[in-house]
Symmetry: C2
Subunit: 345 residues, 2 copies
DNA sequence: GTGAAAGCGCTAACAA
DNA sequence: TTGTTAGCGCTTTCAC
């Protein structure tokens, strides 16, 4: 059987409390006593039982992270950032994926799958504001991603409208006149709305067309969806000279279609993605992309959860935190002369 | 405060045990009583405290999954498979990443980071057999990946030697005479050894060269490492007509270098990767790759852990489980005529 | 500075 | 079929 505090106490000839004091680094223990107890701990190979500690303290040391899908490298990299940030605070991360489906997101937000957690970081896709309004769970919830819910939860995101405008401005600055948007969402919710808005605002400001014929809606957000959307636009007879995609996988899928059709990137059509995924740096044509500071997002999300956990949840206003982003220019817009072909920049 | 069994019992006017019976779906409860209790549960919004249950039962309902890195889409997809398989058994997954570094892998295997788990699935890179021999943890451990440790732990993997031979045979079958291997590992451990062995065996059997000049060692296994390795081979003066890479990201990195140098794939150099990552299906040249059955690996790993958990850990021999794999032929070896360009096949 | 004892919420004997 | 109770291993008052 496992050795418990009691065993150690018996072995050292002291009370349970004293052992506990040593284990928890309590201040007022004489060095001699500390060493004596420590010797017993080592001798017996004692390891504290976390379940008991959790039961007693009401904390588990676990936060849950619920992402749409790990297959998208952006989310995989984000998960890595969250895990590291949590580790810095001695927290471990329970991972779940929702497939971006509303019911799953609701279940997760209600703590259905994981009731052993101190907090939850959720990156929703289809979730609607009302789904969160009657949340019974009392563990802190932090939202990630581009949708703005205006609910009493912290929210970490980059400025999606500004980021989209920057991307489009880059294209118009290169002389592109007809910029398509790939990755608007079919159905009721429109998670891409901020990026679509930025796209539209920037084009309108430049006096360029931003009509619906230039927007391709998709069901999902993978390579195949991007390829399908690009195909649809080309088949519609429209011939944009630039494409702004909701994310990198879609941009890469679109580039594949352009390649198959013999259209050159960027000469015939320039392409900009979003997320700055590693994959975009190694294609035959490297991909210009908006690069969110994933590391910061992960860190801020963890800190946000842990702060709420500290107890000021009710007191403090919900915070809207803006993480940084920047545009990384590569071959898909500026051609082979692009600086740092396969590098970071 | 949280509502407990006691509160529900008081509310329903029954004993704690009866509520517990209802919560745990115990057989012998009269329907009337069950409904009455259920009504109180709903009214109070009762949720069982898992920490307490855990303390009592000694089970947490959590298994840990430790992977080298999430950035590699193979591992991300594998993580998704494990999460789904675990969910099917009402288990949730704690995720950790080791960076493929030995010390981290040792810490994880000793349960350092997560002591609240029922079992552990570990995909080691640098871990050495002796690191596991004095494992104090008593929770079941299941190993993933290509290294064969010959230790008393279950091990789920594909037949790497056979897979590598299949890949190389595909290349020689296409008339390639000089097949390089990218992705052997520098340093003491050699996780790629089975794939290198398969590569060597197949070439030797075909009477073709398999000398060290054709093997490029790398520090890591990302796109950049593949690119660097390819560069080194070309700069060495060697001009292979085919490359077999340890994994898809490396193969894609290598293809980028070939592209930059004006070498055509597959005409000048054919390329085969490993893992069949989505990304490989959407490049300018789609990638032929060995496709392991990730879904099966995830499922088998979870089942393996849970079986051991069942208690027969000591009784049963450690199992070596072989998951399936197959070669998916795409443009990087057979050219544009390849069937199913961007599709699954 | 250290010890004794209560109790976190739950499950499982055992009793009724 | 339902109730009573002990105790999982720990932390935490409160004495000493």
């Amino acid at each position: 059987m496992r050795v418990s505090l009691k065993d150690v106490a018996a072995h050292a000839g002291v009370s349970i409390k004293t052992v506990s004091n040593v284990v928890n680094n309590y201040q007022h223990v004489t060095p001699a006593m500390r060493e004596r107890v420590q010797r017993s701990i080592d001798a017996l190979g004692y390891q504290p039982n976390l379940a008991a500690r959790h039961l007693r303290k009401g904390r588990t040391g676990i936060i849950a992270l619920a992402l749409p899908e790990l297959g998208n490298p952006y989310f995989a990299e984000l998960a890595a950032a969250v895990i590291d940030a949590a580790a810095a605070h001695d927290y471990i991360v329970l991972l779940d994926h929702t497939g971006g489906r509303r019911e799953q997101e609701i279940l997760v937000s209600q703590g259905f799958r994981a009731r052993v957690i101190d907090g939850l970081i959720l990156s929703p896709i289809e979730l609607e504001p009302e789904d969160l309004s009657d949340r019974a769970e009392k563990v802190p919830l932090v939202l990630l991603g581009e949708r703005d819910y205006d609910l009493p939860y912290d929210h970490i995101a980059i400025d999606n409208v500004a980021a989209a405008r920057t991307a489009v401005r880059h294209l118009t600055g290169l002389g592109r006149r007809e910029v398509a948007f790939i990755g608007a969402r079919r159905g009721r919710s429109e998670p891409a709305q901020l990026r679509v808005r930025g796209w539209r605002e920037e084009l309108t400001a430049a006096g360029l067309p931003a009509d619906d014929g230039l927007v391709a809606a998709t069901d999902g957000w993978g390579h195949a969806d991007g390829a399908a959307a690009m195909t649809r636009i080309l088949d519609s007879g429209r011939r944009p000279d630039a494409v702004f995609a909701y994310n990198d996988p879609m941009a890469i899928g679109a580039m594949r279609v352009l390649h198959e059709r013999g259209l050159r990137v960027p000469e015939d059509i320039a392409v900009v993605g979003f997320d700055d995924v590693v994959e975009g740096r190694f294609g035959a044509v490297t991909l210009t992309s908006v690069s969110p500071d994933k590391e910061a997002i992960g860190r801020l999300a963890v800190e946000s959860v842990l702060t709420r956990l500290g107890g000021n949840e009710v007191l403090t206003e919900p915070r809207r935190v803006r993480a940084d982003h920047r545009l990384v220019e590569r071959e898909s817009t500026v051609g082979r002369a692009a600086p740092g072909g396969t590098g970071q920049g």
